[in-house]
């Protein structure tokens, strides 16, 4: 981790850190994200009921001092369900980010650095990006059957081409920089150059992109779950909670509204975090989207 921090902020890590702390978007985002993380990690301590404990006679209780977020159609405590549900949403988002980091970086670096690989890799990514993202995810999710890893893989496949593209673009720039040429002239091998000189300098846009991928993954997971193709609902995610609650939106609005707000707060936090990182680390990168 220390290594990563050094490569990220090679010149002056402490100054970058101070800049980040002065950036209002970053601070607000970090606050929201920390809040969400704490809530879901400490869920067993905060929630007084088990998320799947049914008290059928207590169904459809509106929010009260006993049930902060009310109860659902089977009398389950929504507060516990929203907290535990967040675990799954965040977990899926996290793994999507990890897969993006590994495969997006690998493919992007290969395409950007080795010209021979560029065309086939980019055509493949064109083909994947030619599908509307949700459709592609639905198709993959339908193939693999609903499970947590299905949601992760489906969303990763959607976003990896986009991450790879951003990394490729950075590599294309960095590989023409003087010190890379110098290093090559000094007889350094391709892998050495790629690993020691190019990748460390592409970390800033990557980090920014990954924070947005995290946000999109949380949103898209909700869409998949809403369509019944996400993780199995035994451990509900926020998308599943909305999907299950929507039939009762007239009688029990809290079943739909509360998980929606939970998603919004989390995604907002991640977006703010990404904005802050971008402002500080990579002020030139404004238009990289999706």
């Amino acid at each position: 981790m220390a290594d990563l921090a050094l490569t990220l902020f090679p010149a002056n890590a402490r100054r970058t850190g101070r800049k980040l702390l002065r950036n209002r978007a970053f601070v607000a985002g970090a606050f929201l994200v920390t809040l969400v993380f704490l809530a879901i990690v400490l869920a067993p301590l905060i929630a007084q009921y088990e998320p799947n404990r049914m008290q059928i006679r207590m169904r459809f209780r509106p929010p009260s001092s006993e049930f902060w977020f009310g109860t659902d159609n089977l009398g389950r405590d929504m507060f516990a369900r929203v907290l535990y549900g967040g675990r799954l949403s965040i977990e899926i988002g996290f793994w999507v980010v990890m897969l993006n980091a590994v495969f997006g970086v690998t493919l992007g670096a290969l395409a950007g650095y080795f010209r021979a690989l560029d065309n086939p890799l980019m055509r493949l990514s064109d083909a994947l990006m030619a599908f509307p993202s949700v459709l592609l995810a639905i198709g993959i999710a339908a193939i693999l059957g609903p499970s947590t890893s299905t949601a992760v893989i489906a969303l990763a496949v959607v976003y990896i081409p986009r991450t790879a593209r951003i990394l490729r673009a950075s590599v294309l720039v960095v590989r023409e920089l003087d010190y890379v040429h110098a290093s090559r002239a000094a007889g350094a091998g391709d892998w050495h150059i790629l690993w020691r000189h190019i990748l460390p300098n592409c970390m800033a846009p990557l980090l920014v992109q990954l924070s947005f991928v995290f946000a999109y993954a949380v949103l898209s997971e909700a869409v998949l779950s809403f369509l019944g193709l996400g993780a199995p609902p035994t451990v509900p995610s926020w998308g599943i909670l909305i999907s299950e609650g929507r039939s009762y939106i007239r009688e029990a609005w809290w079943l739909t509204v509360v998980p929606g707000i939970a998603i919004a707060v989390t995604v907002l936090g991640l977006n703010l975090l990404g904005d802050g990182l971008r402002d500080v680390l990579d002020p030139r990168m404004k238009i990289q989207q999706e």
């Binding site: 059928i56 339908a142 059957g145 019944g228 193709l229 199995p232 609902p233 299950e244 929507r246």
Partner: protein
């Protein structure tokens, strides 16, 4: 019911008119005509080829446009529709239908026996339930108004099968009989004809002006009887979101909905602009085990699972409180109803379950409950069942797939599932023999080894189908039901209603297994 018994039991008579006593030479008269009735369906309509679809959504629309020789009435007894009379020969092998005169198809052609024969030909070729016609040796058309079927062997319940409406044998003009499955032009003899069908959006039906009403009956009964199209058009909108459907009814965008979720019923009942219409015994909540997959291949494990369950909790969760427990596979009042084996249902006895598990040598093997989320009823049932099994020391685990994947998996016994969930609607409503068939060879739902069903059950099942006396058949049914429950072939949790709703100015809408728009009129 009396009438039908006399027909079925006393087939020695030569000429029997199946029609009820003519009570009204006029048939049904509309108090008011005109208007566009807008009705919301809860699911998409997968096409209108009534021979090639067994879906309830197809019947909801198509059975307002197509008619049959014989169908079921409001009480599920056979009733003649396009046939004027039915005569059964003394040996029970020949069924002679005399057709009603002057019936017109929507394309203007007058129906004759050639059309009937062509319809049966097509059904025999591709009808989903074409096994209904397996006992038939041949059919013929001695003249333009007569259709004769010859059976291979005496079959006391043939008329019940012929009139069952899961996939009704609707009569189509002979020129359409060559249509491939799913490609049938929507031309029938019913009171409505097709105006527009936009898949996933809406279907519009229009009154068929040359419709020849059945004047033998004053009112509609089942799909038959005295029918007339009172409204000019019916627009059926497919609205799969329950909340949106109910909201549309409340804000007067539509006149009726096919299904009102339990949670919304109280609010709608309090709304004076809306009338609820309820069919009290509509569907039975059922689960069945997989006999080929361990540990449910062991009868003791199955019995333990049955002993562990509390049906009230399960039905409460599945239906949000709108249910009745039911002691068996038929409802009270039905011909084959019996409570044989009812002590095996709703035992709520985890201690007995543990005892049985011990005897079975159960060592915590996984019990996979295969369920889906498209149908919340099934999902909630499996959820509560899983909790109850766990409480009895059974290692229950939910497997949640989407509906197509789950159903396909349930048809393969090797694929590692132990319980599957379904709702039996017509399977129960069409009567005892139809229900027992689910658990009999050749396709028992619970997948016993090599599809070999317990011989005692098969003996009882065959007796239900062939015994000449009703009392004998009823006794055989009771035997079969007891065996089915004792060995746990399927578990009938209970029965739930179907609640529909219409605006207060919609008159004479009567809920049935499918939506019917004849004889419904709109007050201004």
């Amino acid at each position: 019911m009396k009438l039908r018994q006399s027909i079925l039991a006393a087939t020695a008579l030569t000429a029997v008119a199946l029609a009820a006593t003519p009570s009204n030479a006029q048939g049904f008269q509309c108090p008011r005509t005109g208007g566009d009735l807008i009705f919301a369906l809860e699911s998409q309509v997968p096409g209108l080829d009534q021979h090639a679809s067994n879906s309830s959504a197809t019947r909801n629309v198509a059975m307002n446009m197509f008619e049959t020789l014989v169908t079921r009435d409001e009480n599920m007894n056979p009733i003649l529709e396009l046939a004027e009379t039915l005569e059964t020969s003394a040996d029970g092998l020949t069924y002679t239908f005399r057709l009603r005169q002057g019936i017109k198809f929507h394309n203007g052609k007058t129906m004759s026996s050639a059309d009937v024969a062509a319809s049966f030909d097509r059904y025999k070729r591709l009808g989903i339930d074409r096994s209904i016609l397996d006992p038939v040796d041949s059919w013929s058309t001695p003249d333009a108004n007569t259709f004769v079927m010859k059976l291979k062997a005496r079959q006391p319940l043939f008329l019940e099968a012929l009139s069952s409406f899961t996939v009704p044998i609707v009569i189509i003009p002979s020129e359409n009989a060559g249509a491939a499955a799913g490609q049938l032009p929507t031309v029938g003899t019913g009171p409505f004809r097709l105006d527009e069908f936009r898949a996933d959006s809406h279907v519009r039906l229009r009154r068929f002006d040359d419709y020849r009403p059945d004047t033998r009956h004053a009112t509609m009964s089942g799909f038959a009887g005295g029918k007339r199209a009172c409204v000019d058009t019916v627009t059926l909108r497919m609205m799969t979101e329950p909340a949106a459907r109910t909201a549309a009814l409340e804000v007067n965008e539509i006149h009726g909905v096919e299904d009102v979720p339990a949670a919304s019923q109280k609010r709608l009942a309090d709304n004076r602009a809306i009338k609820l219409a309820r069919l009290e015994t509509f569907w039975m909540n059922v689960t069945y085990p997989n006999w080929s997959a361990p540990p449910t291949d062991n009868p003791k494990v199955r019995q333990a699972i049955l002993a562990a369950m509390n049906f009230d909790e399960i039905m409460e969760a599945a239906t949000e409180g709108q249910y009745k427990l039911n002691p068996g596979f038929q409802y009270p009042g039905m011909q084959y109803f019996t409570d044989a084996g009812k002590e095996l249902l709703n035992q709520k006895n985890p201690a007995k379950a543990r005892q049985l598990l011990q005897e079975a040598g159960y060592k915590g093997e996984k019990v996979v409950l295969l369920t889906n989320r498209q149908f919340p009823v099934m999902y909630n049932t499996s959820l509560v069942m899983a909790e109850q099994l766990k409480a009895a020391g059974i290692n229950a685990e939910l497997e949640v797939l989407d509906w197509p994947a789950a159903l396909q998996k349930s048809q393969r016994e090797t694929q590692g599932w132990n319980f599957f969930y379904t709702g039996w609607i017509t399977v129960i409503a069409l009567g005892g023999p139809q229900t027992l068939r689910q658990m009999a060879e050749p396709n028992p739902v619970y997948k016993p080894k090599d599809n070999k069903v317990d011989p005692a059950y098969m003996a009882a099942f065959n007796e239900v189908n062939t015994a000449p006396e009703l009392a004998q058949r009823q006794a055989a049914f009771a035997r079969a039901q007891r065996i089915a429950l004792d060995q746990v072939m399927a578990v009938p949790f209970g029965v739930a209603p179907k609640t529909q709703a219409v605006r207060a100015n919609v008159e004479n809408y009567v809920p049935y297994f499918n939506t019917r728009f004849s004889n419904v009129w709109i007050r201004p």
